[in-house]
């Protein structure tokens, strides 16, 4: 693959996810060195940069479960030319979205008021520093426009490598049957 004229700037984040997709990203192993010849990281758990600057590519793991997720996702959308949903949770809400058939009020009530073993006087946290949960966990494409999707729980390192190298080379990403997985 030919190196682009300048390194592409890439930001990544995990919203309502488990960082499993980021871990799988690291499963590209030594290929990360090759990748770093082509890209540089902006905001990402790998850099600890707190806010996203203008980027070529944004990679989002996890669905949208609270107000902070919305802000982060919007920051990425505003700054990234191409936004990618990576992993089952970003694609359809995944495991966290399995709360969606329950009423949020009932969930908060049970977790903080009625479940056994709570400290006396336990109450639903209301510190303004804490992001409020949304009524449901949403796939990210229901909140902002998403350009590409890479399914999998997590997608394999090989799939991520193929997907990213396609994107970086300016090709529409294409996965072989073996790389295509929802599980």
């Amino acid at each position: 693959m030919n190196a682009p004229a300048r390194k592409l700037r890439v930001a990544t984040t995990s919203l309502a996810g488990c960082f499993g997709c980021h871990m799988s990203f690291l499963d590209i192993d030594e290929r990360i060195l090759k990748l770093l010849e082509l890209i540089e990281f902006d905001r990402s758990p790998l850099t600890d940069i707190k806010h996203c600057g203008p980027c070529d590519l944004g990679i989002i793991e996890g669905g949208v479960c609270n107000a902070e997720n919305v802000h982060v996702l919007r920051e990425f959308r505003a700054n990234c030319k191409i936004l990618v949903a990576i992993g089952a949770c970003a694609v359809n809400g995944g495991l966290p979205a399995q709360r969606n058939h329950l009423d949020l009020r009932d969930i908060l009530e049970e977790v903080y008021h009625t479940s056994p073993g709570l400290a006396p006087g336990s109450q639903i946290p209301n510190d303004p520093e804490l992001p409020l949960p949304l009524d449901k966990v949403y796939p990210i494409h229901e909140v902002v426009k998403i350009d590409y999707f890479l399914p999998g729980c997590p997608p394999s390192g090989d799939a991520i490598w193929k997907f990213l190298t396609d994107l970086i080379a300016g090709r529409t990403p294409h996965l072989s049957h073996e790389m295509m997985h929802y599980d």
């Binding site: 107000a67 959308r77 949403y138 229901e142 902002v144």
Partner: protein, 621 residues
Amino acid sequence: MSETDVIDAILDRHRRDGTRLMQILRETQEQLGWLAPATLTRIAVAIDWPRAKVEGTAGFYSFFHTRPLGRYRVLWSDNITDRMLGNADLTRMMCEKLWLEAGRVSEDGLVSVDTTSCTGMCDQGPALLVNYRAVTRMTPQRVEQMVELIRNEAPLADWPAEWFAVADNIRRGDILLNNAMQPGDALRACVARGPAAGKEASSNDRSWRETVVANPGPALALEEIKLSNLRGRGGAGFTTGLKWEACRSASVADGDSRRFIVCNADEGEPGTFKDRVLLTAQPDLVFEGMTVAGYVVGATQGYVYLRGEYRYLLDPLNAVLARRRAQGLLGRGIAGQAGFSFDIEIHLGAGAYICGEESALIESLEGKRGVPRNRPPYPITHGFLNRPTVVNNVETFAASALIALQGGEWFRGIGTSKSSGTKILSISGDCLHPGIYEYPFGVTIAQVLPACGARDVHAVQVSGPSGICIDETEFKRRIAFEDIPTAGAMMIFNDQRDMFEVARNFAHFFAHESCGFCTPCRVGTSLLKNCMDKIADGHGSQHTMNEIFQINRLLQMASHCGLGHTACNPMFDTLKKFRPAYERRLKTLDFEASFDLDSALAQARQMTGRDDAGSHLETQS
């Protein structure tokens, strides 16, 4: 009488026949209030059907409920014409006065208030159903009185009779609505054409079919229908003579020579109410037409599939049938003709627009879920109980009776060369004189509009949501099969009306009425509804418009039946002709969240008692 006695009496009256399940369920619910699990079990055992199949039928129709929905169930007709007459405010007012949320049952089990698809009272709305009885012309005063009556648990019989009055509003009649035919005239004319007239009535029904070959009477009557070039009035316009002929000559291999005549009175297309008026003002004409059809194809049994919204017509229609039996116009030896046997039964639907589709109607007539069949085979060879069956619209049968009496040549002289006869239009919306107008085919929209007192007309929805929306540039077009075919509805919108809201109302209608059989219609109509709501709520974008377009294309291509194929028409038409009505609602962004983010935090705000800046999300990033 105990509940089980009530159920058993109903079952016995219907001979424990599963094909009569719809009537069994309706009558049971009318007496017991709802269809409890044990009730369904008892019915299933009696008719020897799997219980789940009985529950499946009960669960399909809007007017059957398998949980209690209140001793008073108020359903506001929610057609766009009811909307334009202010039904939303009245519904809200009723709910407030009853301390009730729409769609919920009051905690004491007394009452529930909800909406339903068009009840066919568009010329006298806002309309509603209370315990499935039609009420017209609702006003704030009537809402107040009704709330009082409900609170006092007054029986419906004690409610003001004028609330239940349904006007015919016939503004213009022609050959159908002004006919002077006496009951039996058409049948006597049929019989007179055949040389077998005057023979003694046979006691054996079977003999009739055998005499068909020898007796040229039915063939001669068929010739008149064919000569008339009568085409179906339900909208599709299939040539009636060909349909009858195909049914008449359909081979029956297994020795069961029964054939059936079915009158489609499931007038569910929003904005259509002409069949209601025909059945009120001209029931003899309709029944006579069915009997002529029976004579022609050799059928001895006919059914009228009457939509559940017209439950109030059941008793008057049964009275007419009884009179006709007494007059020798139904039963055996009709009009003195040996072996000419035919009878008619009214079968009531239960709130499902899809049953207007003929094969779904037949499924419903057999007690099943109203799902359109795979075709071929068609009903003319494999219809009710898999027997050759003619299904025609109410108006088609009415016209058939006149043709049988006055001849096909006479009929063909009316209307245009490709569309003979007249068309009854149900006119509602923005006009001074909503109601029923019968015109010869070929009349232009521009001729009709002043006649009904419509001014400053912006658009006309012809033939209901599944039909066509025309703007002022098209008013010179004609009502005719070769130009604008129609089942009869004309909803008029003046220049103050918002055509986006019209299309959105129709999108809700189709989502509610999709039978759910095929994937594109089941999911697609609901996605379309959500897209339209998203635009209405200010969250729409160009992306949403593209989605509507894409989903519409899929519906047209892959849907199982006409409901899915036409569900996109209102949006296609209004997007083409009234695009600014959509565009002014769009955000400038090319993408918007599919839901209201701030209200998605409302539950959490309520539970935490927070209302700080961080507890809110702006719509726009």
